[in-house]
Structure formats: structure tokens, C-alpha cells
């Protein structure tokens, strides 16, 4: 009860601060929309898709997963600013739950990602993308779990390195192979065998496949449940690890 209350307090404050910074919201929505408008049109011929809608069914899931990964991984920067401003320290001397300090922030990230996802989905509808609402909600669940994991990990790493200069290259180094090996922008069906083999070890590749299957209306595809399972386990692990960083006495 106290934990839920604490999480709510932190979540509400973080959301309030996010809403006060309209530039952030603009950037967060503007970028994916640019992808949708300026990159997606190339896909129909490139993927040899029969219709624009078919191309969107492949591309939009990838774009959403991409947003979830990147949106989450770079949240640590905000935390470093808070560390520097003494806010984390001020919270840590109160009896507030340490897990709530993390989850309140990560949930804010999940919600802001979902807002982005809804905007993109609505736009894609204009381009004749069609998806059954139940499947869409499952896809959103997957995105939420991804964002929860990546933002928690990002916060944990931020608490460990405590400097933007270290966090930026670290996150880029992680994000780039993850991105390339997950078939986010183009499906890995085009990839040579060895590349597909390596990608199998990338959990996000499973997540992308799962979300694509959902957008294709293929709920019976094993990838859906496998993807959700893998990401859920990783999200829990990420949260547990990061919460420990919050609890641990840092210098």
C-alpha cells in the first residue's frame, strides 16, 4: 500500500514535470512522425509489398519497438540531472520506498511511450493500416514491457556511471547492435543465415517478430507469446537490478 502510494507520488511528479516541458513532447512525437511520413513511403517498393498498408504492417511495429528501446535507454540522462540537482539524495533520506523511486519514473516513461505509440498508430490508420483492437493492446503490452526494461536499465546505469559523458557512448554502444540485430527497420528475412543466427540471441528481435505477428493478425504465431515471455522476464530482471542501484548506498 505504502509502496503503491509512493510510486504514485513519484509518477505524478515526474509526469507533471514532463508536461511542463512542451519541447520534449514535441520532439517525442515529431521524430516518429517524420519516420512515418518520410521513410515509410520507400518501403512499399523496397519490401516488394503489394500495398502501402502491407508495408506499414511491417514497418510500424518495428518503429514502435524502436521508440520503446531508445525512449527508454536515454531516460538515464534526466536522472543524472536529478542526481546533480540533489533530488535523488533528498528522496533517499526519506523513508520512501526505493523501488518506488525507480518505478514511478519508469512508469512515467512507459506512459509517455504509449502516448507516442497511440499517435503513431492513429496516423498509420490514415494510411490504411488496420489492426484488431485486442491485438493492438497486446502489442502495446509488449511495448510497455520493453520501455519498462530499457528505462529501468538506463536509470540503473546512470546511477552507476553518474555522468552524461559516460552514459551517452555506453547507451549508443548497446543500442546500435540491438537495433541492427533486431530487424527493426527491415525484417531479417532478408538477412544471410549467420546474421539470422546472431539475431536469435537478441531478445528484441523476438519482440519485433511478436509485434509484427500481432499487426499481421496472427495471434497463433508462437513468436507472440515467446516475445512477451522473454521481454517480461527481462523487464523484471531489469527493474530488480535497477531498484538495487537506487537502494544501494552511493557515494
Amino acid at each position: 500500500m505504502k509502496f503503491a502510494h509512493d510510486t504514485w507520488l513519484i509518477f505524478r511528479r515526474q509526469t507533471q514535470l514532463l508536461l511542463r516541458n512542451p519541447v520534449w513532447i514535441f520532439v517525442g512525437v515529431f521524430q516518429p512522425v517524420m519516420y512515418l511520413l518520410l521513410f515509410a513511403p520507400l518501403l512499399k517498393p523496397a519490401l516488394n509489398a503489394p500495398t502501402q498498408a502491407a508495408a506499414y504492417k511491417i514497418f510500424v511495429p518495428g518503429l514502435l519497438v524502436l521508440l520503446a528501446i531508445f525512449g527508454g535507454l536515454f531516460q538515464g540522462f534526466g536522472l543524472i540531472a536529478e542526481l546533480r540537482a540533489g533530488i535523488i539524495e533528498r528522496s533517499r533520506v526519506t523513508p520512501v520506498s526505493r523501488l518506488a523511486l525507480l518505478l514511478g519514473r519508469s512508469l512515467r516513461d512507459v506512459v509517455s511511450l504509449l502516448v507516442q505509440a497511440v499517435i503513431i498508430t492513429l496516423l498509420a490508420l490514415l494510411f490504411d493500416l488496420r489492426i484488431f483492437i485486442g491485438y493492438l493492446l497486446l502489442a502495446y503490452l509488449m511495448l510497455a514491457l520493453i520501455a519498462l526494461m530499457t528505462s529501468a536499465v538506463s536509470y540503473g546505469v546512470a546511477l552507476k556511471v553518474k555522468s552524461e559523458d559516460a552514459l551517452a557512448p555506453l547507451m549508443n554502444t548497446v543500442a546500435q547492435p540491438v537495433l541492427l540485430l533486431s530487424g527493426i527497420l527491415l525484417p531479417l528475412t532478408f538477412a544471410p543465415g549467420w546474421l539470422q543466427g546472431v539475431a536469435k540471441w537478441n531478445p528484441f528481435s523476438w519482440a519485433v517478430d511478436g509485434v509484427r505477428a500481432l499487426f499481421a493478425g496472427d495471434l497463433s504465431n508462437a513468436k507472440v507469446w515467446q516475445g512477451l515471455g522473454i521481454i517480461a522476464v527481462l523487464a523484471v530482471a531489469g527493474v530488480v537490478w535497477a531498484a538495487r542501484q537506487f537502494a544501494r548506498s552511493v557515494r
Binding site: L9, L17, N21, A85, G86, I87, R90, T94, V96, S249
Partner: protein, 319 residues
């Protein structure tokens, strides 16, 4: 209120391939009484902040024990947290939120209900003369205003003890004087205040008792007055006409409170006494009684810097 025994902390720092262990705090024993302003005086890097952070449960000690307001630091850090307030050195407010929002949130993080949190915030804003700016964003505040918000945040849950890390660093003289008044007000309300400072005048003017820290150890402890007296007592300069000087010297030399007496060139006396404040009236009475005219009387006190110098061989101003 606070009692520590052998509190220790060392950090490992890596410089290139070499790992060095730095003993930041090497066994600190302290006793802080209820309702006093206790000051930790020392140069930067002396281990003041590290000790404070250990007492505030922010870092775990490597060794030693502490009891804070009845709670054991090692066994019950959560109990310590409920009883203390802590105001860090570098600030603790969000740029984009207002003082009122910060105060309400902080109170609620301590588990205080919404209505009560709002009442407390209003009261704190009033007490710290912040009502006028209460609903403006923190980034618009002056340094002194922001520091006042931070202190209000540290005591919103009415702790028994509040730790203030360098509360006046970076403030202009006027804000500084204002801050001293605020700190004295906390004491008047019954709070025990524990501050760190590297300002000699602050330790001297504000603190009831101080511990001088250097290189991870407490090198001296006591009231500022006691510590200075330990050094050499006070010096009283008595201004007299040349003609009156020998007679005055004869009179005062036999007084028991005068430890040493020197005749100044060109008239006047230099008296070494234990406590100038009690010696001066006696000197005045003695001279008046003998009908000797006094031109001036001055009290020179050894400063805390003299104390630091005797204990460490360095001046605090230099380190």
C-alpha cells in the same frame, strides 16, 4: 541526541591502473546534546560531509556505531530516516517546480496525508518568508531564497535533528546573516541542528559546540569559547598614560586572574587573562579605585583559526 563511536569510512579510488584506498573518516567519536547547534568545522576534504552522509543514512559506514535520536544507525536506518532531516550541500530542488509543490511532495514522501502536507507547506512557506514566491518556479529564486526552500524541505516532517551541509556556502553576506537567524530559530523550536562549515566566523557565531575535523579525525571538540580559551586565554590591552603605567602595573600584577603582564612601549599594559569578559570589569574597578585614568581598553581573543593552527600545524585559511 547523537552519539557515535569509531565511525569509519574509506573509499577506493582508481587513478589509472592503481587503486588507492583513501581513509575519508578514521574513527569519529561524537556526542551531540539535544537542542544545540553543533558544528563540524574543517577544511574541504576533511571528512565532514562523509561523516554527515553516514549519519544521514546515505552511505554505509565501514565500521563503528552511531545512535541518532534513539535509533541505531546500523540496525535501523529506516528509523533514523524518520527522525532526521537532511539538507545536502549542492541544493535539492527541481528547477521547474514551485516551492509549494516541492514542500507538499516532500511531506507526502514522509507519509504525511495530503491535507496535512498542504497545511505544513503553507506554514513552512510563511515561517521561511517564502509565501510571496511560493507558486513561482524554483529556478526563478535567488540563492538565499532557494536555500531557504531547501531547509524548509529538510524539516517539513518536524524531525528531531536536522543535518545541514554547508548551509551558507555561496550566499552573500546578507543572506548568510538571514540564514543564521533561520538556524537559530530551528534551535529555538527545540530542534537539534548539526551543520558543517569551513567558515571560522560561522562556527564561532552560530554554533553552541563544535568539533574541528582534519584529515578524517576530530582534533578538538568543545564550545568555541572553551576551545579558544584552551589556547592561551584572552589578551586585554589597557591604554594608559605613560605616567600612570608603572602604578597600574604594580596594582594589577598581584590580581589572581592575571596570568601574565607586559608593559607596552609608550604606556599601557598588555594583560594575559583566562577570560577577558570577567577580567575587564575587575580591571576597571581596580583602576578606578586607585584613581587612575584609563584611555582605552580592548579585548583580543584568540580565533578558532588559532585553535586549528595549534591542533594541526596549519592555518584553516590556508588549507
Amino acid at each position: 541526541m547523537i552519539e557515535t563511536r569509531g565511525l569509519r569510512k574509506s573509499f577506493r579510488s582508481r587513478a589509472g591502473k592503481e587503486t588507492k584506498t583513501v581513509d575519508a573518516v578514521r574513527g569519529v567519536n561524537l556526542e551531540v546534546a539535544e537542542g544545540e547547534i553543533f558544528g563540524f568545522l574543517g577544511p574541504n576534504g576533511a571528512g565532514k560531509t562523509t561523516t554527515l552522509r553516514m549519519l544521514a543514512t546515505l552511505i554505509e559506514p565501514d565500521g563503528g556505531e552511531a545512535t541518532i535520536a534513539g535509533a541505531d544507525l546500523r540496525k535501523d536506518p529506516a528509523g533514523v530516516r524518520r527522525r532526521i532531516g537532511y539538507v545536502p550541500q549542492g541544493g535539492s530542488t527541481w528547477d521547474d517546480s514551485t516551492a509549494r509543490e516541492e514542500l507538499v511532495l516532500q511531506a507526502r514522501l514522509y507519509g504525511i496525508g495530503k491535507a496535512d502536507a498542504e497545511r505544513r507547506a503553507t506554514r513552512a512557506l510563511d515561517a521561511f518568508q517564502l509565501t510571496e514566491y511560493a507558486d513561482r518556479k524554483c529556478k526563478t529564486y535567488s540563492g538565499g531564497q532557494r536555500r531557504r526552500v531547501e531547509i524548509a524541505l529538510g524539516i517539513i516532517h518536524e524531525p528531531k535533528i536536522v543535518f545541514l551541509d554547508e548551509p551558507t556556502t555561496g550566499l552573500d553576506p546578507q543572506s548568510r546573516a538571514h540564514m543564521w537567524d533561520e538556524i537559530r530559530r530551528l534551535r529555538a523550536e527545540g530542534m537539534t541542528v548539526f551543520i558543517t562549515t569551513h567558515y571560522l566566523d560561522e562556527a564561532d557565531a552560530l554554533c553552541d559546540r563544535i568539533a574541528i575535523m582534519d584529515n578524517g579525525e576530530v582534533v578538538a571538540e568543545g564550545t568555541p569559547a572553551d576551545l579558544k580559551r584552551e589556547i592561551s586565554g584572552d589578551v586585554v590591552l589597557v591604554g594608559l598614560d605613560l605616567s600612570a603605567t608603572p602604578q597600574a602595573a604594580e596594582l594589577l600584577d598581584t590580581e589572581e586572574y592575571v596570568n601574565k603582564l607586559e608593559t607596552a612601549d609608550g604606556g599601557g599594559l598588555r594583560l594575559f587573562v583566562d577570560d577577558g569578559a570577567t577580567a575587564i570589569p575587575q580591571i576597571l574597578r581596580r583602576l578606578d579605585h586607585a584613581g587612575l585614568d584609563l584611555r582605552s581598553i580592548e579585548l583580543h581573543r584568540p580565533s578558532l583559526d588559532d585553535v586549528f593552527l595549534t591542533k594541526t600545524g596549519r592555518s584553516l585559511r590556508e588549507s
